[in-house]
Structures are given as structure tokens and as C-alpha cells.
Symmetry: C2
């Protein structure tokens, strides 16, 4: 019987996705199946930040459906009406908060015969101390706001900034009616007591169990407090973006809570991307023993119907990589395979939602025949449709025949639009103009470099001129910045050149992972081997300059350091917060098969910290991108003053300090 | 006698500024003057974020001097050792926290015969709940850390993000010795009780008086708690950046606190700029009746010696504009005069410190003969020295003779380097290349604009190509982005063009203020009238396109709306959080002398919200700039998701909502 429930529900999900009516016979069948009561709908939706009307209408469709089939309750993610994160927008444009209240009241009116939990921003009473708003969930029932739940724990790290405009709620569970300032009495039901069977919390509220975590970020544990009321079911409304290796922690924690309190937990997570954060959905239910009994799909909108007390649910498979084991969290490895499906879907959703939510359809990018632009092209073709991608090979005099033919072959394999446009005339004219200008400047200024990066950068900027030109000339089209994480760390990217674009799909993917990713794409897309083997095999290099030692185009690893070594430095800094001395004393994976002298290691590390320090400015002007790894340099995730470029990452010992201070 | 103290101290400040020894006879004289005891040195220093060695050596010089002259105490700003703000750096690179502890211990060792209050980041005990660090002040005395003060109130709005990595201290005043985890017992003095005569707090801790403020951000009032201990003197270590109209609030509040508790307050503020925030110093003392008895200079490092209990101090004049009255806070006005000196010094310090702290010396900018580049050129000449500025006139075929000659005249008047370099060859070549490319793209893609901005943007980008070229070719030089606040709100700036640069000096100055600013610069700089009158009189326009109606270069106000109207919209949104309907119902200052029809007003407001929505992306990639006004769009101050571009700023009434939801 319940097998049939999920077969039918999958049809319903498709109807919703295509904006079609759900046939009455399906409604009748599902209604019949769940007529015994106790069924909850987990509606993991993809909202648009601040677009209250869009979000409310989406929620309304689900609520009406829940009414029709007779669900006990339908649960939406955190801030479902507003979209999460909404950031500082609610402070500067309080109109959207007013709107979210009006639409919430409207939604209450259509909630007849079921109960809906809808996340929204709640303005506090005007004379309250503290911030202006609560991050709340409205309990809508029979035309009214039957109760309010407010978030107590406010994450304020990485991509989270809840505490900027949200006041932490001192009270967990149902809020006292006299604090419900933004609603008239007529909107509020009289007896919220009927909801005490549910212990409802919001996102971070369930991330502070004192037994589960070695270290807790907050004193208060809202779940522990809710548990005192002996609820029958815990419900948590969340908006938790995917990051490398986060899923298993979440799984274990939710399972632990359910088992510890012998209370099932229903966890409903947002899906979709909002700017740099990509949310994976994967909403789920654990039973009283902490066993997983239901899990929605990853990276897709879905309404999953469950009965937590009768152990009715369906476990959809998790996107590969979400399930990566916790033990791998603290060990660097070049084995990326297990995280690549998650990486793919995280970025695909990031691209798709950025374009859709901003009103773009098409992307144009330079195809150099190199790995970065290649992987970007594949991702764009899959996210936007091949007809909406234009790849341009833009050779200079340094571009090899192979690069051109590899790029063309790739475009052909993908079926994307392709053309070749030489930058030589632009580079020649620009170079001539610049050389004249430089002569004049040199009459007044010293400090002209003997070997400057000007020629390299003129090429990269001429290419960007082409791409932005197309974006200016054709509607709904933006250019793509193809920089990867390893090269951004080294500042190995040209301002107004390859790091410029409307979106940067792989800015949080390190180079060694990109190689593995390219192979994975070749093996796992319906069209196998779209990426020519030559592209994966060739050593990365921007083909912007000649290496004086070899007379051939410069190889990036020669200019920087081996990518395997570089990526391990990055990983150790981001994941283990290691400093210069730690890194000197660490045996790198690279060293297992390549002997590295102390001098060489010192040279690479010195170069790394020097280049990273001067790359801070570039990070600050990087286009929006998708956060993929557990830590990133995305500016909405990590902020470091640009003027901190003088930091001494090596440190100095106390004896030297005494000496230095004595000589001041 | 004390008159002599300040004459001598000014000599000392100059010696410090020039890195020279203070002559022994001056030390002897000052020592003599303050020998009665009770004197406190307020050391408002300009630190570099994260550069512990630089900051510690600066602090050491002052401490040694304090020891020599026999000050009772020397007080430094909040986080003096680390620089404020340090942002997420302390999380990712904990080595700088280790370093700041080592240097703090070193500083304690040289503090003999005086007491020093030095702000630093304090790691919490490893097993503590909550964030990893406290924002603390160390009391250094006789070679030891004699006590610790910790910040309780953590600002987390606008440019402040303290709560990301800082744990609020539950205890005000001197901390219990058993919580001092990062110091050995040997570093800690035995009897911190001797410091109970001082009620010491950190920055935001004094911004929550329940009588003074109508609305309070926090429940706790650390000053009220400190007052219970009946200290003789309050001391507050601060890092409070200047914003329009903030000073008088600060003045009134500190005065109120001193008078309320009949306790003098010594307030020491950071000076200098760290990235986007410019700190004004202006440290001060209020006596037991709330009267100002001492105030240090604005925007300059200084050691001001005071005796709070004997009312000995000197009041240096405030930079004009810092003293602007509170009543003006909520009224829009085009009378900018009173804020222009502050604006000037805020930006000048912002430019100077960004360059110095990043290791740059020279700036190159395009001189169009327009207002934006003109004001930037003046500010750069004053901040960096005229020999370090290169102005380039880069005419296209649309550039008028007047624009060229105005630019040249300006450069001549300022004495900066100047040359002319035509972009015509680059524009011609690029346009030809692009047109060929567009033909190919148009074979595959529809949606080619009939009248695109491509030609305009090619000009702006060609100019940026010149400027970045010079930056790549000559050492220590960065190009300047000349965009102003009004045009950034409208997205009236070219990506990789005029909005691109290493620094954006006037990104937070609205256009109408720039006109007043230009006149102010002409009247108040030593060289009067450096800006040719023609530049101030001409109507702004980018000279990038021809207006089809007039056959002349397009005037910006025709493409956008009158700047007076535009700037009032911006001001009302930022300062009063008004929405579309409020703005429709507001009588604008512009309307006092220009009748505006309802249709016209609606058209302008519609245009404003439409353009602002699509400008969010441009704000996200704007170079570092100086925050000047009370609110800004600087991305470290204000964040709004780019994908929120679909926000309906007009709103919708409840009846419509009901209708909309019924039809879902």
C-alpha cells in the first residue's frame, strides 16, 4: 500500500515540477492510503531570496494539495517564505518583511483541514531590546496563525550571518501569545496547546547536543529543552547548504538525537542555490531508535510523505559523495572519486539557479583547450542546455594547433555552439598603443619591470573583451570566469581577464580534483568521453608566455609548484588551520612518490604564502561562485582584510621577540 | 605648566611620526610636569591588520616612552596588537593569535614603572563552550600580565562582525585568574585588585546605556555593571570608524555616561584605515559632570596625556563635519558643506593607508574631464603626492576638445603627471573583431539587441586596458576606479571598465555631494581653484554614446534621472529604510524647485528599483573603497543576494494576496 504511495507521489512531484494539475484520481488514491492519519508532508522547496510572491505561491500549491489529500501536517524549510539566506536585505528594505507577513496571513487562510509549518521573518515588538527580527516558523491551521516557533541558536560563521539582524529566541517551542506583536488577535488561534505533541525547532537549534559534539558553540541546547516536554515527534525546519563531508555528520547527529530522546525526528531542508550556497535537500526522518526511515532526493524539489510514528517512509538514494565517511575529514587525499557526484550536482544546481533566479539563459566562455575551461563547458552544457552555451576559441600567436583542435573537438562532443575568433589583431593594436604609452610614462616614473606580465595580461583581457562584448550584444547571456581554486590561491588569474565573468563555476574546486572530475564526467555522463583525452593529459599552462628555459609555452606547475603539493597546502590550511611551521614538518602526499628537498619545500611554501597574501584583493572581486569544499575563499564565506598582506605566517620565537622589543 | 606639557608633547608626536628619538631634555621636562601622578597617556595608534610585529613595535615605543616620563598608565585602542577589524583571519590562520600572545608577553616585560592597556585576541580555554576567542585588553605592569578585560557586547551589523569568532564575555571588569588559559601563572600578577579604581571596557560595551538610547541592541549594560564597583575612572578602548553624523552621537553618549555615574571617562580610539573602514581617532576625556576636558586630533596618530581627576587635558579641534548636529540625521539635505572636511580626511586616510599597508606607492587613473575622475585625481595627489599620480586622458572619437583641455588643465594645476593616449586604434580594432564575431554568434543565437551598449563598453574597457597595463608594467602602481555612489546604485558603470581598479576612492560619495566637494576642494586646499570651473559646471556624461535626440554626447541625467532626485532616493532608502510607496508619497527636495508629475515620479522610481536590482552583481565585484556615509553599498558593510533581483519593492495589498492565492 505504501509502495503505491511513493509511486503516486513521484507522479505528483513531476506534475508540480511541470506546473501541471495533479489528476483527481491520484489525489483520491493518496487520500485513501493516508486516511488513517498521522501523515506528514516534507516539502523541500527551492525558494528565491526575497521574492515573497514567488515563494508564497509555491508554498500555497503544496498547502492546497496537502488539504486535498488530508495530510495531518505539511512542513516547509527554514525561512521558506523569504528564502535563506536573505542577508542584510531585511534591514535596508523592511518592505519585504511586511510582505512576508501579509503573505503568511494569506497562506493561513488557505490552510484548512491541515497544519502547515512555514518559515518567515518575524518583526519583533517595536519596544523590544535587541535586533529587529526573529527567524520564525508559523504554525498555520484553519485560517489562522495557530502558533509561532523561533530560532534560538544563530549561526554566524562561514556563509551564515544570522546574528546580523536576528535576535536569538530565549524561549524554545511554542511562543507566548503576548509576544506575537505582528499579528492581530484575530489571526491567532486560541489553543496552541494542541501542538505540544510536536517539538519544533529551526536548523541550528538541533546542532548543539552536548553529548554528540566534543565542543559546543552555544550554551543552550533547544532540543534538550524541547525534550523535557515529551513531544511525540521532533520537527526541524532547515536551510543547510552542502559542503564537502558535512552530510555524514548531519546524519549521525540527527540519528543520535532521535535515539537519545527516543523520539522520531522529521528534518526538512531547503533545496536549490542562493548565490554562492547550494542546498542539497535530502530531507529525512529517523525513528525512535535513530534509524533512518525516510529520505527525500538530493538537489530536487520534492514532497515526501511520511508517518514517523508508524515508520512509514521511503529512503531515496543520497547523491554519491554526500555519504562520504567522517573519518576522511581530517586526512588529505587525492582520491576524489567518492565526492565527485556531489561536486557535480552542487555546481550544476549553483549554475542553474543563479541563471534562472537572475533571469539569464545563456553563457559564453573561452575554450582554451585547457582543463578549467573544459570542465566549465561541460557543466554549463549540462546546467543550461547545450544550445545555450557558446564556446569561443580565441587563439593568440602562442596558442598551439592542439589547443585549438582540442577545444573544437570538445565543443563538437558536447554539441555546444562554437567558433574561433583570433585575438591577434587586438593584441597587436593594444600592444602598440601600450608600448607608446609606456615610453611616455617611463619618462616620469622609474620602476619599469624588465620582464613584466603585461603581454600575458593583454591576451587574457582581450579575450574577456570578446566575451563581455557578446554578453552586451545578446540578451540573457553572461560570460563565465573559469578560474579554479588552486590558481586563485596563487593569484594566478588575470584581473579583467580569465577571472572576470558573471559567474565562476569552479572557483572552489582545486586543480587535482578537476583532473579527477574530468575523468568522472567522461565516465558518468550519458555521452561518454566528451572530454578529449588530450585535454586531461596535457600539463596546465595558460599559453600566455614563453618559458625562457624551454622556448615553449610556460607550464603552470613550473611557474607555481606541483599542483599536488599546492592543493595539500590549501587543504591543510583550510581544514586543519596549519601554519608555516606545521607545513614544513608535514610529510606531503606528494612526497610519497617525489623526493622534495628541504630547500625546495621552503621555496614552495615561501612562494605560497607570498602569493596568497597578494591574492586577497583578487578574492575580493571574484564573481559569484558555488561553495563546494568544506572551507573556501568565497568572499561570503571567508573575509580577510586586504591590507593584512604583511602578515608574517612564519612566526617568531619568544627570545627573538625580547630582542626585537629591546632594540625598539 | 600644562600648557607647556602640550607644546612639548606635540614635539614628541612629531618625533614619533618621523621615527626619531625623543630628546632627553624633553623627556625630563615632561617627567617633571607630570610628576604629581595621576596622568594617563591616550595612545591612538594606526595598526596594520594582522601584522603583529609592526603593531607590537609601535606599541613598544610608546610604552618605553611612558616608562621614561613616568605615566601612571598608557592606554591603546581595541585590538591594538592585532588591528581592528581582523575578520575571519584569526580562524583560518591561528598562528597570528599565537603571535599576538607571544608579543603581548614581550610587551609586558618592557612595561616597568607604568601600566599599559593593550588590546589583543585571547584564545579561550580549549574545553570552553562557544567561540574560540575573546576580544580582550591586557593590563601590563612590571613585567607581567596583571589582569585581563574582555568585551561583552559584540557588534554584528554594518562593517562589524565581532560575533563570527569572538565569544561575548559574561563577566565585565577584571577577569577571574582561573580563566586566563593562555598565560602561565608566572605571567600573571598576584593582586589585580589594585586596578579596581579603573572601570575598563571595550568599545561596544559602552554603547548600550538604557537611559540614553531609545532602543537598545543588548540586554546587558557593562558600564552599569562596572559602575556598581564605584571606579574612579572609566576607560574604554575602542576601534570606531567614522561614518556620517556618528560623532555627535558618540560625544553625547560618552558625556551622558560620565555625568550619569559622576565618573570621568577616558575613551581611546583607533586611527587609520583598514581596507574599507577609516577610523578617526579623536580620543577624548569627559569629566565627572560630562564636560569634555580633552580630545586628541582626528585622523592622526597622537599620544595625548591627560589627568582625568585633575581635569588636565587639551581639546584639539575636531575635523569639521565630525561635529555635525544630530538633528540633521533624519533630514535629507543638499547642504553638504558641513561634512566635507570629514569626507576629505576620511577618504585621504583611506587611500593613504590602503596604499601604504599593501605596499603600493603610485596610482594611475583616466582623466575624462568629468567630475568623478577629477575629484579622484585631487584626492590621490593629496594622499600620495603629486609625483605619484599619473593622469591619462584617453580620448575616443566622442571626446570633446573641452574634455581634453579640462583634463590637461586639471593635471597642470595639480602638478600630477599627465599624458594623452588615444583609444581610437584599440576601439577600431576591437569593434571590427567584435562585429565579425557577433555575425557568427547571431547565426546561432537570437536576441541580438538593436541598440546595445557594446560600443560604449568597448571604450570604457579599452581605457581600463591602458590603466591596468601601466599597473602591470610599473612597480608599486595600481589603477583607480572612479565610480561614484549615485552611478553605482544605477549600475551606471562598466564592468572591466571605469568600475574596475585597485581602489575606488569615491564609491561611497553621491554625485550631488561630489559637486559640493569639488567646490570645497577649490576653496580649502593650499592651491586654490585647482579644479577648472568648467568641470564643475558641465553636466555629467560619460561621452560614450551619442543621444539620438540631440545628436550630442548623452547626458547622464537624461539616461538616468536628475541627480538631486536620485540622491534623495538613495538617502531615504539607506537612512530611513523607505520603500517604494513611501517614496511616492514623499515630497522630494528636488520638487521644491522643479515640478514633477506623478507619471514622471513613477517612471523615475520604477527605473531606480529596476536598475538597483540588476546592479547588485556590480556591487559584489567593486574594488575596495572607503565607507564615508552613514550607510553604504560597500560589500563589507551591506550584503544582499544577487539572486534577489526579483524582489517586488512595491508590495501588494492583502485583498490582492487573497485573490492571488485563491487562483494558485
Amino acid at each position: 500500500m505504501t509502495g503505491n504511495l511513493y509511486t503516486l507521489s513521484e507522479i505528483v512531484d513531476k506534475k508540480f515540477a511541470h506546473g501541471e494539475e495533479v489528476p483527481q484520481n491520484i489525489i483520491n488514491s493518496i487520500k485513501q492510503i493516508i486516511s488513517g492519519g498521522g501523515f506528514i508532508g516534507m516539502a523541500q522547496i527551492n525558494p528565491i531570496a526575497g521574492n515573497i510572491e514567488y515563494n508564497a505561491k509555491k508554498i500555497a500549491k503544496y498547502i492546497k494539495y496537502a488539504c486535498k489529500i488530508g495530510l495531518d501536517m505539511i512542513v516547509f524549510p527554514e525561512l521558506a517564505l523569504m528564502g535563506y539566506p536573505i542577508e542584510d536585505t531585511i534591514d535596508r528594505h523592511p518592505i519585504i518583511v511586511d510582505e512576508n507577513i501579509k503573505w503568511l496571513k494569506g497562506l493561513a487562510k488557505i490552510t484548512i483541514g491541515t497544519t502547515a509549518l512555514v518559515g518567515f521573518i518575524e518583526p519583533r515588538l517595536a519596544d523590544s531590546e535587541g535586533k529587529k527580527y526573529f527567524n520564525s516558523v508559523g504554525i498555520l491551521k484553519d485560517g489562522k496563525i495557530a502558533g509561532i516557533i523561533r530560532k534560538s541558536l544563530l549561526p554566524n560563521y562561514s556563509e551564515f550571518n544570522d546574528y546580523r539582524y536576528i535576535e536569538p529566541s530565549p524561549v524554545v517551542g511554542l511562543q507566548p501569545a503576548n509576544t506575537l506583536g505582528c499579528f492581530d488577535r484575530q489571526n491567532i488561534a486560541d489553543s496552541p496547546k494542541i501542538f505540544e505533541k510536536y517539538g519544533i525547532s529551526i536548523c541550528e537549534d538541533c546542532w548543539n547536543n552536548k553529548e554528540f559534539f566534543d565542543k559546543n558553540l552555544y550554551e543552550k541546547d533547544p532540543i534538550e529543552e524541547l525534550a523535557q516536554e515529551k513531544p511525540e515527534i521532533f520537527i526541524n525546519c532547515s536551510a543547510s547548504p552542502t559542503r564537502a563531508k558535512k552530510e555524514q555528520l548531519k546524519h549521525n547527529m540527527l540519528s543520535f538525537i532521535a535515539n537519545k530522546y527516543k523520539t522520531p525526528i522529521v528534518y526538512v531542508n531547503q533545496v536549490g542555490a542562493i548565490d554562492n550556497s547550494s542546498f542539497d535537500g535530502s530531507s529525512r526522518v529517523f525513528d525512535t531508535n535513530g534509524n533512518l526511515i525516510a529520505r527525500a532526493k538530493s538537489f530536487e524539489e520534492q514532497l515526501l510523505i511520511v508517518n514517523p510514528l508508524k515508520n512509514i517512509g521511503k529512503i531515496y538514494p543520497l547523491t554519491g559523495g554526500l555519504d562520504k565517511s567522517l573519518t576522511e575529514q581530517k586526512i588529505f587525499t587525492l582520491e576524489y572519486e567518492s565526492d565527485l557526484e556531489r561536486t557535480y550536482k552542487t555546481i550544476l544546481q549553483g549554475i542553474r539557479d543563479y541563471f534562472k533566479k537572475c533571469g539569464f539563459k545563456r553563457a559564453v566562455l573561452g575554450l582554451s583547450g585547457g582543463l578549467d575551461s573544459t570542465v566549465c563547458a561541460v557543466l554549463l552544457a549540462d546546467a543550461l542546455g547545450k544550445e545555450n552555451v557558446f564556446g569561443i576559441s580565441m587563439p593568440s600567436k602562442l596558442t598551439s594547433k592542439e589547443s585549438k583542435s582540442d577545444a573544437e573537438q570538445l565543443a563538437h562532443n558536447l554539441g555546444i555552439n562554437f567558433t574561433e575568433a583570433s585575438i591577434r589583431p587586438m593584441v597587436d593594436t593594444t600592444t602598440e598603443c601600450l608600448n607608446n604609452l609606456f615610453k611616455t610614462v617611463a619618462e616620469k616614473w622609474d620602476g619599469r619591470y624588465k620582464a613584466s606580465f603585461t603581454p600575458d595580461n593583454v591576451q587574457a583581457r582581450s579575450r574577456a573583451m570578446f566575451l563581455w562584448g557578446i554578453s552586451n550584444e545578446f540578451s540573457s547571456c553572461i560570460p563565465i570566469a573559469t578560474s579554479d581554486k588552486s590558481e586563485l590561491y596563487m593569484g594566478y588569474a588575470t584581473i579583467n581577464g580569465d577571472m572576470s565573468g558573471g559567474f565562476a563555476p569552479i572557483a572552489d574546486v582545486p586543480k587535482t580534483k578537476l583532473f579527477a572530475f574530468a575523468r568522472w564526467l567522461n565516465n558518468n555522463r550519458p555521452e561518454k568521453n566528451a572530454i578529449p583525452e588530450a585535454i586531461i593529459l596535457k600539463k596546465p599552462g595558460a599559453e600566455l608566455a614563453i618559458d625562457p628555459k624551454t622556448g615553449k609555452p610556460l607550464i603552470a606547475e613550473d611557474a607555481l609548484m606541483p599542483y599536488e603539493f599546492l592543493d595539500e597546502i590549501i587543504w591543510r590550511i583550510e581544514n586543519k588551520n596549519e601554519g608555516y611551521q606545521d607545513l614544513i614538518n608535514t610529510k606531503f602526499v606528494y612526497e610519497n612518490h617525489n623526493p622534495v628537498s628541504k630547500e625546495q619545500k621552503t621555496e614552495w611554501l615561501d612562494k605560497f604564502f607570498r602569493r596568497m597574501s597578494t591574492a586577497l584583493y583578487k578574492w575580493s572581486i571574484l564573481p559569484p561562485s558555488v561553495i563546494v569544499e568544506s572551507r573556501s575563499i568565497n568572499k561570503y564565506d571567508y573575509r580577510q582584510p586586504i591590507t593584512s598582506s604583511g602578515i608574517d605566517y612564519k612566526g617568531i620565537n619568544e627570545a627573538e621577540i625580547t630582542k626585537e622589543l629591546n632594540s625598539v
